[in-house]
Amino acid sequence: MSTQMQQLYQQVILDHSRSRIGNQALLRDDATGAHGFSHQVNPTCGDEIELETELLDDGTIAVRWTGDGCSISMASASVLSELATEASVADMLDIEAKFHELMHSRGTLEADEEILGDAAAFTGVSKFPARIKCALLSWVAFKDALNQAQTSLEE
């Protein structure tokens, strides 16, 4: 097996793609806290995610999602959901920005595991231009949904 493949499909990614954190029915309008919703599609391959964020009283974000896609996109949504359970909104925005930067680095950046946690395992993905969108699909949905949740909080 080529090293590139091993770099791409880290065990962490394969594990997350099989047992997916946050993969559960959306509450939609039944959510009690400030919440937002986003539906993202990767038109080139049909990968799809519906993701919901809810701002909890303890300052963290609950993430729920359903989706259909490759192991990279599903594992990425799972890792994101796990990170959100322990992070503040400000932390998550920082993680999102760092993950975005990492994905567009074409393998030139060293991932900061302290901040990115399991998301650091996606470093190898950045060397595969066709798969970067897979890794970012849930993060795009997350950013969109979080933005809505924050807006609804302000209203």
């Binding site: 097996m1 080529s2 590139q4 493949m5 791409l8 499909y9 394969l14 099989r18 080139t44 391959c45 049909g46 990968d47 799809e48 259909d68 896609g69 490759c70 192991s71 990279i72 599903m74 595969f128 798969r131 897979c134």
Partner: protein, 416 residues
């Protein structure tokens, strides 16, 4: 013969990492023989000039190169050169027909275009196995004219379900647009049966021939279709070039969509008269080098023989289907007997994107995704599939390398 002609395609010597390349993605685009690449280069080295204007020697040579493409294509698919109109791609060719009918429906083109006018009492029929290129333009036409859009469903075995053909295609049907060969399932559709029904109700037939013309003998005159579309790049030619073929009388009354230079007879400040086909549909500067190169591609195909190419690929399809059937957890989409060397499948527990990535790591190039046929994939309960598609330059070894790599996919992803 087929083992020798592989050497005509320099790209097949490419290494993918440490592996040799097995290119099984010709359904998406074909590779080009050296003679086609040479024609393209030589055009710019020796013959480049503006066509259809200017009296100088180069202009004459360029015009000859351009027009020889039409002749090569009409020799391949039937009819006369004037029935061959160049477009940007097959998608544009299908849009030229659909949008031309839209224009006719809104009063363009005078009396002779009236036959193409649609309204709320009319219907347009497509099939559930269409590429988006032969579906979306008809959805747009239906929306614009109020006509009803209907479709022929697909059976589990990947064939058109013709049990309700006579009620789906009925007296209201103005257009019957369908693919000759499915780009996903590889199924060859019974064109003559479909055309016969269209004739009974007076509907125009539009054939998507993208997956048939490169792989089998096709004669649009024998098939008696009204319009047909295909692309050069899937038939050993360059990108940026498609063909709209039509019956001359119909082409000459269809309102053009792209208007401007090179397609008019007289222009005054308030109106214009248009030329007949093919120039009618060729506004602006045309892809002359592409046409010249495509002429070489078509002649190459004719020299090999489309009947022999068809037989060769049928044999490869058999190897692929027999081999895939031996691998646990693989479900082939469709099972049509009458088919080309295109096999799409779902790997249980592994997404198509991951399948394609693994195969690539073994030097095997396939297509993954919905192949621009989302409704068809929905019909089979999947959003994406993996597709292996052959061409004349593939051999049994390519198929075996593909099968060996495919057998490793589920173990690699830890799926039992």
């Amino acid at each position: 013969m087929f083992s020798r002609l592989r050497n005509d395609f320099p790209i097949l010597d490419t290494r993918v990492g440490e592996s040799a390349l097995s290119y099984l993605d010709s359904g998406a685009t074909s590779q080009k023989p050296q003679c086609v690449i040479d024609t393209f280069t030589e055009y710019f080295q020796q013959r480049n000039a503006a066509v259809h204007r200017g009296a100088h020697t180069l202009a004459v040579m360029a015009t000859d190169a351009f027009e020889s493409g039409r002749e090569a294509v009409s020799n391949l698919v039937g009819g006369v050169p004037e029935q061959v109109c160049w477009t940007k791609n097959a998608t544009e060719a299908l849009n030229v027909v659909a949008l031309g009918m839209d224009r006719a429906s809104h009063g363009f083109g005078g009396e002779s275009a009236g036959r193409f006018a649609l309204g709320p009492d009319d219907s347009i029929v497509v099939t559930e196995m269409e590429h988006h290129a032969n579906l979306v333009p008809w959805q747009q036409l239906a929306q614009s004219t109020g006509a009803q859009l209907r479709w022929i469903p697909v059976t589990d075995s990947g064939e058109l379900d013709l049990s309700d053909l006579s009620s789906i295609v009925d007296e209201t049907t103005k257009v019957f647009a369908f693919t000759h060969v499915s780009n996903v399932l590889g199924t060859i559709n019974p064109v003559k049966i479909l055309v016969a029904r269209a004739r009974e109700v007076g509907a125009f037939v539009v054939l998507d021939a993208c997956q048939s013309v490169p792989h089998m003998p096709v004669n649009f005159v024998d098939l008696d279709v009204d319009f047909a579309a295909f692309s050069a790049h899937k038939a050993l030619g360059p990108t940026g070039l498609g063909v709209l073929w039509g019956k001359s009388e119909l082409l000459n009354s269809l309102p053009p969509v792209l208007t401007g230079g090179s397609m008019i007879t007289t222009v005054t400040m308030d109106k214009s008269e248009f030329m007949d086909a093919p120039q009618r549909f060729e506004a602006g500067t045309q892809p002359v080098a592409e046409v010249a190169a495509f002429a070489t591609a078509v002649n190459y195909l004719a020299e090999v023989g489309l009947d022999r190419i068809f037989d060769h690929e049928r044999e490869l399809a058999r190897v692929l289907l027999d081999g895939v059937a031996q691998i646990p957890g693989i479900r082939v989409l469709g099972a049509a007997k009458d088919r080309i060397g295109t096999v799409a499948f779902d790997v249980e527990g592994v997404h198509a994107h991951d399948v394609g990535q693994y195969l690539d790591s073994q030097g095997v190039a396939v297509r993954v995704g919905h192949h621009c046929a989302q409704p068809l994939h929905r019909r089979y309960g999947v959003t994406a599939s993996t597709r292996a598609s052959t061409y004349l330059y593939n051999n049994v070894e390519d198929c075996e390398r593909f099968l060996a790599a495919l057998a490793e996919v589920r173990p690699f992803f830890g799926v039992q």
